[in-house]
């Protein structure tokens, strides 16, 4: 683990339930290069919630050149600068086949902003150059002069989701590609078709920062359920108190939708 992105070592110790439901392995892709806008918060949220539910979280920070962990039950990725994207390109090509296999096999993944774009078919720059992506999601992103910035409310399969978008790339879904959600407030993928993000199997791509998981705990638990079932065969959630998360969520919804 890199020294600058460490999760609080005693998050586990803060839970008041025994960690006897098994290990769940999370991989955070490129926490240095592709984790601005608080994307580390998604990893922190999942690790803490696993512990609150009685599981033992194991977090692997995947840096360029790192060996791929033996056990992977959930994969996270975040947004980055252009310079960050350039720095992970080569490593991403190296692990591309593994990621595609895991995705096809149903491993849950949450890819935000820059990593969402890299999980798509291609990124077409403002100058027209076509940079291929991993092709796990059937989306194509074009560089745009105008940035799409602001708070967002979505309807999704996991329930209503709030977050904050900040992207210049405009993304279009391929035919048959499911979106992650429908926009109720905000721009979404491209500002015109009302879609936000993309979902294939259990891979979710989205432009939502926030970071998105803490204020949308049902989305976090939705991903964890799939991961825990893969890791341990069952999902046995504990009764987690989400009063604060619900308040934070509902206040944003009311503020934005009236």
């Amino acid at each position: 683990m890199s020294s600058d992105q460490q999760l609080p070592g005693d998050v586990a110790a803060l839970a008041e339930v025994p960690a006897d439901k098994g290990e769940v392995h999370l991989v955070h892709l490129y926490p240095r290069e592709m984790s601005i806008y608080g994307d580390l918060g998604n990893t922190r949220c999942l690790a803490a919630r696993l512990r609150w539910h009685g599981y033992s979280p194991v977090v692997h920070d995947h840096h360029p050149g790192s060996p791929w962990p033996d056990q992977v039950h959930l994969v996270l990725g975040g947004g980055g600068q252009d310079s960050g994207q350039a720095r992970v390109q080569e490593d991403l090509a190296r692990i591309a086949d593994r990621l595609r296999e895991l995705a096809a096999d149903g491993v849950p993944m949450l890819m935000i902003c820059g990593m969402y774009q890299l999980f798509g078919e291609a990124f077409v720059t403002v100058e027209g150059a076509r940079l291929p992506g991993l092709g796990i999601l059937d989306v194509t992103t074009r560089g745009n002069e105008k940035r799409m910035i602001g708070p967002v409310v979505l309807d999704t399969d996991f329930g209503p989701v709030v977050g904050y978008e900040n992207h210049s790339g405009s993304t279009v879904l391929g035919e048959g590609q499911q979106p992650f959600g429908r926009v109720r407030q905000g721009h979404g993928n491209n500002g015109s078709d009302g879609t936000e993000g993309a979902r294939t199997h259990n891979v979710v791509g989205s432009y939502l920062h926030g970071p998105v998981l803490p204020a949308n705990p049902w989305l976090a638990d939705g991903l964890l359920e799939i991961a825990a079932r893969r890791a341990t065969g069952t999902w046995a959630p504990a009764d987690v108190d989400d009063t604060v998360a619900r308040e934070a969520h509902e206040r944003q919804v009311r503020r934005l939708l009236g």
């Binding site: 240095r32 602001g150 803490p214 204020a215």
Partner: protein, 436 residues
């Protein structure tokens, strides 16, 4: 002085009078003036005999500017500055309106202005800075600047346009690289921390976005200043290459960040003053500087100290927690997400709140009070109450902790609001009347 400038200054003064009567903000009169004469800055600041110094960077602009101005004034210079922290061009113009004759003469030898990264370029379009002090680059309000790379480019452009001298942070590679783009004959000065405390740099910077260590760290010269804190961390010495130390001295503002700001200000003052620079005068001036509004300012609440600490980005909040978190005080955190705060609160997840775990947080407040409480929950920090209304929260916080030391961490617009309430209640100077 062009007629247009005269008309602009008159219009600005009228607007200033009107906003003063209404008790309004500090930027509008400048905006009016700038609309009438977009070149007003060139016409007024462009002819000052000792030049125009721009202080920019993500963190520490207001504090550093105040220190630099104090040191220059202590050396006898007449300094124009924008003391309100209104760091857009219109804020600079607003500050000027009170000090300028209608014919446009500013009674000053030199201007020292703090400018927000984006507005520094806008400023330089109108009047080329003779000197620039570039502090640091951190993630800040990415909904405005979009990318840290972009912020770095803005400061690089500012360095490129500076005509006589720059002072750069040797420990921040985004800033130290600016030396590669300087115009011919532009003098370079360096400030930084002494190698003996280099291990404390990570707490001040975001190492995750600085990928390469510049192998070609510049050789420091006779007039470059390094920070050397005392063993107990309370006082500091600015150590110059030629042995003309400034200090040991003790600042009124606490923490390592303030010490680095003092080092930056001292190094810049030395470059500006050259032979006139007197280390003893500089040390005395630094010791007399009060923290600017809301930047670790200590307010006397019926005999108990209340510290007001502005936090606006992950690096700044982390440093503030390192400085203040360990010392016992009842704590309130107020987070707004207005434009001037940055509308995205994601950055709270790039701060570790563990230093607050032991005592907990009495109250979270502001528009995003619940999001702050949620953030603390994920770091295992207990929250006593959540009250989104700032006035209600302040009342309750002071009532429940009467006679105890208290501390409020707050974003910019929350700070402005709370500072105004505290000024009314405890008879403090109002915004725009910050005593030197």
């Amino acid at each position: 002085m062009p007629l247009r400038t005269t008309a602009a200054l008159a219009a600005g003064r009228l607007a200033r009078l009107a906003t003063r009567l209404r008790g309004g903000g500090s930027a509008l009169p400048g905006l009016v003036t700038e609309k009438v004469d977009p070149a007003v800055l060139r016409h007024t600041l462009g002819s000052l005999p000792e030049g125009v110094v721009v202080v920019s960077g993500t963190n520490g602009k207001t504090t550093t500017t105040k220190m630099l101005v104090a040191v220059l004034r202590a050396h006898g210079l007449r300094v124009f500055t924008n003391p309100t922290g209104s760091n857009f061009t219109r804020g600079v113009i607003s500050s000027m309106l009170g000090e300028i004759s209608l014919r446009g003469r500013l009674d000053a030898d030199i201007a020292v202005v703090e400018l927000d990264e984006a507005h520094a370029i806008h400023f330089a379009d109108q009047v080329l800075p003779t000197h620039a002090l570039l502090l640091n680059v951190a993630r800040d309000q990415l909904d405005r600047f979009a990318e840290i790379d972009h912020t770095a480019r803005l400061l690089t452009t500012l360095g490129e346009r500076t005509t006589a001298g720059v002072v750069l942070n040797v420990d921040d590679s985004f800033i130290s690289r600016v030396r590669d783009v300087l115009g011919e004959g532009v003098r370079v000065g360096w400030f930084g921390v002494d190698p003996s405390i280099a291990d404390r740099l990570p707490e001040l910077q975001e190492a995750d976005v600085r990928f390469e260590d510049p192998a070609d760290r510049p050789q420091l010269g006779a007039t470059d200043g390094l920070l050397l804190p005392s063993e107990d961390g309370r006082s500091l010495t600015v150590r110059f290459g030629d042995g003309r130390d400034v200090g040991p001295l003790t600042l009124r503002q606490r923490g390592l960040a303030a010490m680095i700001n003092a080092t930056a200000a001292t190094t810049t003052a030395r470059q500006l003053l050259d032979d006139r620079f007197d280390p003893r005068v500089a040390a005395e001036a630094l010791e007399s500087v009060n923290p600017p509004f809301g930047r670790g300012e200590v307010i006397d609440v019926d005999g108990a100290p209340l510290e007001l600490v502005l936090v606006k980005n992950p690096a700044g909040f982390t440093v503030a927690l390192g400085t203040y978190g360990g010392e016992p005080a009842a704590t309130m955190i107020a987070i707004n997400d207005n434009y001037a705060d940055g509308r995205d609160v994601s950055w709270l997840y790039d701060v570790s709140f563990e230093p607050l775990r032991e005592r907990g947080v009495a109250l979270t407040s502001g528009v995003r009070a619940w999001d702050m409480a949620l953030r603390l929950r994920y770091d295992g920090v207990d929250v006593g109450a959540v009250e989104t209304d700032l006035d209600a929260a302040l009342d309750r916080f002071l009532r429940e902790h009467e006679g105890e030391p208290t501390r409020i961490f707050c974003t910019y617009t929350a700070m402005m609001h709370l500072r105004r309430r505290l000024a009314d209640r405890f008879g403090l100077a109002r915004f725009g009347e910050d005593p030197a």
